[in-house]
Point group: C2
Chain length 895, copies 2
């Protein structure tokens, strides 16, 4: 016979069977109670049923493991012994609270049930014992309501309504009819409460078909089971899905001796943070509500005291609490969130956990704690999350308006770019520009966006699309500007004709206001107030520490001199991706020039169009080189399919016909011919330069001439010319040779000195598989992980919205933990990347390797890039700080 597994861990009287390290087994709450007990803090006694029981409960078809009941019974006896009270004893009843507690904080699960153990006879015992019948009956009233609503899913409104009726009657009795105001909960007297309790029991019976349980054992197991059942409540499941919580077994249940914050006036209950969770200052922060149980604080029925008022009222208890704060911060070396109760002047700690904090407080506290000697710089860097950085750069919806959000909520899409935005709905890029020009805040709503929309996207405060994923056109472009963007909102039916969109039966018309929360994907009706956080001083301090740790270089993906300057300000050490094509949409002349090139029917005509583009490109490149002087700038040659540049509507095509002197029919036919079944796998990338090498010639010429202009100005420039969508060594050798021919001739002719590099974007599986041959000629590799992910998984990011959610849904096959377009698929795509780097460096040991896909600004992906031994990551300017942080964290050795 094997050892009997231990499922229950007790705590109390200064010692606990568990500890703070046993969070996975005891849940956050259970582990906190055990740890506080062990370090000698005043904690009521109790025991915790482990998360393993929850796991077994579901594994065994909702049956408890053998021995559990016996084990719980043993611990209950121990609790009775240590408290000197007895469960169900009418004379000296033991009352307990039953609390859920998963290894990570998880809203949506069952809340605490207080005062368990009360029944028709123990309530009288409690009344006698405390000499306070009102207190005892109030506790019983609360228990019946709480048990009924949380353990049995009876709508709490029914219990509240019964209480309201009693209160109304009491109000009438005391103040007469027509009183404007109902009396408070605590003004209801004991006799009135005695009338209320049978009504509550009747409600219970109505819903459950059973009498309210009088046996405390039945109450206890009812509550325990309710906690375990709440693990699979839809709210909890959804929360775990949204937060990608998959690796925990279940929730624990803690059964804790009751202490009463509502027992006379020298009692009360409070919550506090060991530092200010909003600002991050090292000041004690919290609320105290005298004569109250925990739920009263949350419900906000009365205004609580500040901690200084608490100090004046209960100096002794406050003194104990200050000492607890000191010990806990020293013990946990982090800011703590505490719940406590004072019972007749004596302090009890009920909960302690790492405190949630605002993004700026996260920086402030981490930096302060280093200064205080509590933690090391490495620990400080490790404590910052990507969301903290996002939080200080992007506006958010005023958190005080949270209650209004529910009512205003309209629909949820994919959270593509964080931050919030509010404004009037428009449906075309042109309208966005026009409305914005006259000072309106607008939100551009589209089925999807295309490069033609870029101007309007820039004018809009936020962007909402019905299709696409986190790396769709809209998302990528918006991310580059740090502009709030929600995509893939499949429930949105956009009707361009009538200028409105439907969400189910709801209709929003052009000009109506909406608010986007890009951090969650939520869309709200109306214009909600926004708050723009300001990066605190501590941000710079902490980032400098992260920089000191990291070995990865961080560059930015920028397309304009303006973005380049912004990126440099945010710490970018160069440009990892300059998309030459984005420049073409900057003005009418530019787009016309590229269109002329596309519809050219002879090499001469194409050359004339290219000649017109040359000075434009040269000027753009020179601007970026100047903004990034002394730093490397990687320029990718033309990449998108040509059809992205031409007008697809009749008016646009007629305009192009007029401008080029061709017939409308021939323009239309030519544009029709550009149509592709799968443009992602079509005529794009370096394939354009294989069929039209004159495009390569013009672009390389523009890059090198721009660089030479800057060299003449005395600037140091490091152009890196990158060929996209490479698939083969012979293909790359052709491109490389042609690039060098154009470049070397220009440099030689100029008589100036200019070093440049030629490299390949590794974004097809074949390039990764056969990287050895490409590295033979390529001086650098840059992983285009967006396309590499699309091709490796065979998933179009634009079309993934219809099925990818099912792949990350734990109710289905639970296939992926993360959206692979957001967090790099290390297993599959990462394997190709590893091969590509290993093989590439075998032929060229000093091969420079970077990443310029969207993953280059995502925390986990950047860490993976560090592990692969890359030289740099490149991301949109606003994600540069996140990449710097991630690179710093990755370089810190794990404890």
């Amino acid at each position: 016979m094997g050892e009997v597994k231990k499922y229950v861990f007790s705590f109390g009287s200064g010692r606990a069977e568990g500890s703070g390290a046993m969070k996975a087994l005891l849940g956050g709450k259970g582990a906190g109670l055990a740890e506080m007990t062990n370090i000698g803090l005043p904690v009521p006694a109790g025991f915790t049923i482990t998360t393993e029981v929850c796991e077994l409960y579901y594994k065994n078809n909702r049956k408890y493991p053998e021995h559990l009941r016996e084990e719980v019974a043993e611990h209950l006896v121990r609790l009775e012994t240590s408290t000197g009270k007895k469960f169900g004893d009418p004379k000296n009843p033991l009352l307990v609270s039953v609390r859920s507690g998963a290894p990570v904080s998880m809203p949506g699960m069952m809340e605490t049930i207080l005062n368990l153990g009360l029944n028709d006879s123990t309530v009288e015992g409690l009344a006698k014992l405390t000499g306070d019948r009102h207190f005892a009956l109030d506790a019983y009233r609360r228990f019946v309501g709480m048990y009924g609503s949380t353990a049995k899913d009876i709508p709490s409104e029914e219990f509240e309504q019964a209480f309201d009726e009693i209160k109304d009657e009491a109000t009438r009795k005391r103040l007469g009819t027509g009183a404007g105001k109902r009396i408070q909960d605590n003004q209801v007297n004991a006799d009135e409460l005695a009338l209320l309790i049978p009504k509550l029991k009747a409600i219970y019976r109505k819903h459950t078909g059973e009498d309210f349980p009088q046996d405390p054992q039945v109450q206890l197991w009812g509550a325990i089971t309710a906690v375990f059942e709440s693990w699979m409540a839809p709210k909890a499941v959804t929360y775990r899905e949204v937060e990608k919580i998959t690796d925990i077994a279940g929730t624990a249940v803690s059964v804790v001796q009751m202490v009463f914050g509502n027992l006379a006036d020298r009692s009360g209950t409070g919550v506090c943070f060991t530092r200010d969770p909003n600002k991050g200052d090292n000041s004690f922060y919290g609320d105290y509500l005298p004569n109250a149980q925990g739920e009263d604080v949350v419900a906000g029925v009365r205004t609580p005291m500040t901690l200084s008022e608490f100090e004046r009222t209960e100096p002794e208890a406050y003194g104990q609490l200050v000492e607890v704060r000191r010990r806990l911060e020293n013990h946990y070396r982090d800011m703590q969130d505490l719940e406590f109760t004072v019972e007749q002047g004596k302090l009890y700690m009920l909960q302690c956990r790492t405190g949630k904090r605002s993004p700026s407080a996260a920086f402030h506290i981490a930096v302060d704690m280093v200064k205080e000697g509590l933690i090391s710089k490495a620990e400080a860097v490790l404590r910052i999350r990507d969301k903290d950085i996002e939080g200080i750069f992007y506006p958010v919806i005023d958190p005080s308006k949270k209650p209004e959000l529910k009512k205003a909520w309209l629909v949820q899409g994919i959270d593509a770019v964080p931050g919030a935005a509010a404004g009037k709905v428009v449906f075309t890029a042109k309208d966005a520009e026009l409305w914005a020009a006259r000072g309106e805040n607008v939100i551009l709503v589209r089925k999807e966006t295309s490069p033609e929309d870029v101007g309007g996207m820039h004018s809009a405060k936020g962007i909402l699309t019905a299709t696409g994923g986190k790396t769709s056109h809209a998302a990528v472009v918006a991310r580059g500007w740090g502009k709030c963007c929600i995509v893939g909102c499949e429930a949105l039916e956009v009707d361009y004709e009538d200028k409105l969109f439907h969400v189910g039966s709801a209709v929003v018309r052009e000009g109506e206001e909406i608010t986007l929360n890009g951090s969650t994907g939520d869309v709200y009706r109306g214009s909600l107030p926004l708050i723009q956080a300001v990066p605190p001083e501590s941000f710079e301090t902490l980032m400098s520490w992260a920089d000191a740790f990291r070995s990865l270089e961080v560059r930015a993906n920028v397309d304009t001199p303006y973005d380049a300057a912004k990126a440099r300000e945010l710490g970018a050490q160069g440009v990892g991706l300059c998309r030459t094509e984005h420049m073409f949409f900057d003005s009418e002349e530019r787009i016309l020039a590229i269109r002329r090139m596309i519809v050219a029917t002879s090499p001469q005509e194409r050359q004339t169009a290219l000649d017109a583009l040359l000075p434009v490109q040269r000027e753009d490149f020179a601007g970026i080189f100047r903004a990034m002087h002394d730093l490397p700038v990687t320029i990718r040659l033309l990449d998108p399919p040509l059809h992205e540049f031409v007008p697809h509507d009749e008016a646009g095509q007629r305009g192009l016909a007029k401008a080029t002197g061709k017939s409308f029919e021939s323009i239309r036919a030519q544009i029709d011919r550009l149509h592709e079944q799968n443009p992602m796998l079509g005529h794009r990338g370096c394939r354009l330069c294989i069929t039209f090498p004159e495009i390569l010639d013009m672009q390389v010429r523009a890059i090198i001439e721009a660089a030479l202009v800057c060299v003449k100005e005395g600037l140091k420039v490091e152009p890196e010319i990158m060929h996209p969508l490479v698939i083969d060594r012979r293909e790359f050798a052709f491109l490389e040779a042609r690039t060098r021919k154009v470049a070397d001739e220009l440099i030689q002719k100029s008589g100036l000195k200019l070093d440049y590099k030629v490299g390949a974007m590794i974004e097809t599986p074949r390039a990764a598989l056969l990287s050895e041959g490409i590295a033979d000629k390529a001086e650098f590799f840059s992983f285009g992980t967006n396309d590499l992910t699309q091709m490796t998984l065979g998933i179009s990011r634009d079309d993934a919205g219809r099925f990818l959610p099912d792949y990350v849904d734990e109710h289905r096959a639970a296939i992926f933990r993360h959206d692979p377009f957001y967090t790099l698929d290390q297993e599959g795509v990462g394997k190709l990347m590893t091969m590509a780097i290993d093989q590439g460096r075998r032929v060229r040991p000093k091969l420079k390797v970077g990443i310029c896909g969207e993953h280059g600004g995502e925390l986990e992906s950047v860490k993976f890039c560090h592990k692969l031994g890359m030289n740099y990551v490149s991301c949109s300017p606003y994600r540069v700080p996140i990449a710097r942080l991630a690179a710093g964290q990755a370089a810190i050795p794990h404890p």
Copy 2:
């Protein structure tokens, strides 16, 4: 100082410096002359300049290697010595022919120049020496014309016209004016020829600005250079491109002593085959033209003798030739194509090479030679080419109509399915069905085809599309039926509205006749006569030998019981791919049933639609199981994106709305939502069953129920259920578990015994990279190399037409040797396949591995599959014999 490289190899007087094995260096012609010399056949003496010289000539910017001139001079002296004649000696001049000859036969290069060495003085010497002034002047006349036209690119018509004028004058002189008929070439007398020669020289001077060279050395080097220059002539380059000839250095040049078939009547020239090249019979086959030089035979100015006439005229020479035939067949152990000249009764062999033969002759000869003990069965199998098999299964354009083809030629597309077809042009699938029903032969012309067109495609004799590659929808479907198909004909502008298509300025309207040559991609105007070859008996014999060698199993891709029976007849050992979706287009009810499923808005509605599909699918599967009893049948679950099944035109959508009782607007909106940017990477394959597992349930149910029906009938069935587009082990585990659940329940309930397998299609790079995890649950892998190629290379096969030709164009980067959608990309895709198999068999050593992409029926790809250790290949029924041959060839150890 290193050894001086040898660039010239002599032959003559019974010994040669080279040999038949030195084809790469001496070219086919040079090697043949050397070999024939070595085995003692009567060959005029001469020497060959190697292909290396050609290579160096181009490498060194059209300069000859050092020492070449000296080496040629030495060999010329040797030739003079052995012949007893002297180059340029007016008394006894040495005359030579200069011949091009690459390692493989290559039309488009310079033709032979005869009689080189003649000039104004040697011509007189030749006249004296032969006593035949007419002969000498005729030889000179020929030489000036040949040298001028072939070495100096002077239009030969000008020389011919000058000759015609002389002939006209002679005609007038002899027959008077008004003679209906011009005299023959050989009727022109010596004096008239003497008048002609100055005129020919004048033409030469007019074009070249120089006098016709009198120095035989200048003539010789002019001819040699002309041969090397012709290597890069556009015709030759195009031929090499079309035939994918890339690995040969260049052409050789042979300089051979002249023998004269036009020297008096006991001379002549002939060509012959050692066996009948059309039927393959072991009978001597050829033509002989008395008093003629080689060019006369080719020009067809006089009707040649048969070989029996030759035997009667020149019994001695004929006897020598029969002996030559015997010795050459015994020596080369293959049918030979010979050129010979008889000079005054004496036989000279001028050329000998492996003879081209018709497809059925290829089988006949190979089988005969085994019976005769000349070659082994292995050699016989290795001698058959894939084109031989295609040639006996598909109709061809009557080869006797070759001259007419040029005039009728319209445009060229991609040769998707071989064979030929002629008929009236129609532009819709519906018209194809209607016209065919009334007995018309039709050619369906479309921009592209979709599954909705399958009925019409089946009715058409041939299919022509403007877009798509060799694995586009049209190509794949047509290949399954062995139906002539040309795709990717980008020059075709299809105008559905006016029911016509343009090719440049040419217009072809509905109802006009065209002819397709699917083996070359050529499209002709009008209805050309077709010939249907019949597989000879020897086909079966040879295939049985191939079968005996091979270890690879060959299966077929079939979708109907009819195709299954056909495939079995052609030797298929099972079904490697049954595409369940193709069945849906078989009738109105079926397609409506699947459409109901797609537009269902509730799970109940979807289930009802699926319930209606179940009996239909079950019946289809049972039919295939019956046709393939005792053999394995792999059924792939639903694969294509759902939008392929729904109508995209308003009429169709209104019809569907009516049939389903939904509003037209809601149907249209639902279909619009199915639109995808890149459907190839969209919601398809097993992703459909992840989002709608009820589809899996229905299909597995249909398969297993059908199998159980057959088991009850006493048949042995081996269903293999295959999940397409797998990307992950967890995804596959989910599918596998669900498949087994449905299947096992049905089997258990039936009380019957049925073994089935569950496997994964490996067609995404990720599945190949992470095959270990998939093999954990998969009993078999089937490579879908169409999709695997698309994703690995990032090339959509439907869109490749616009740029892939540049990738196989040797004037560009010469990136690929073959279209990777036709011949497997062994380097890239092959690397993934190797990984997938190795990793898969590491966890499951007995993992069954096959291929079901189009590559499964392509010769080189099948050989590669053998090398990878696969268990089977699967291809369309009509390619089964090719796969059997390839598998047999692959299994024969290389010498």
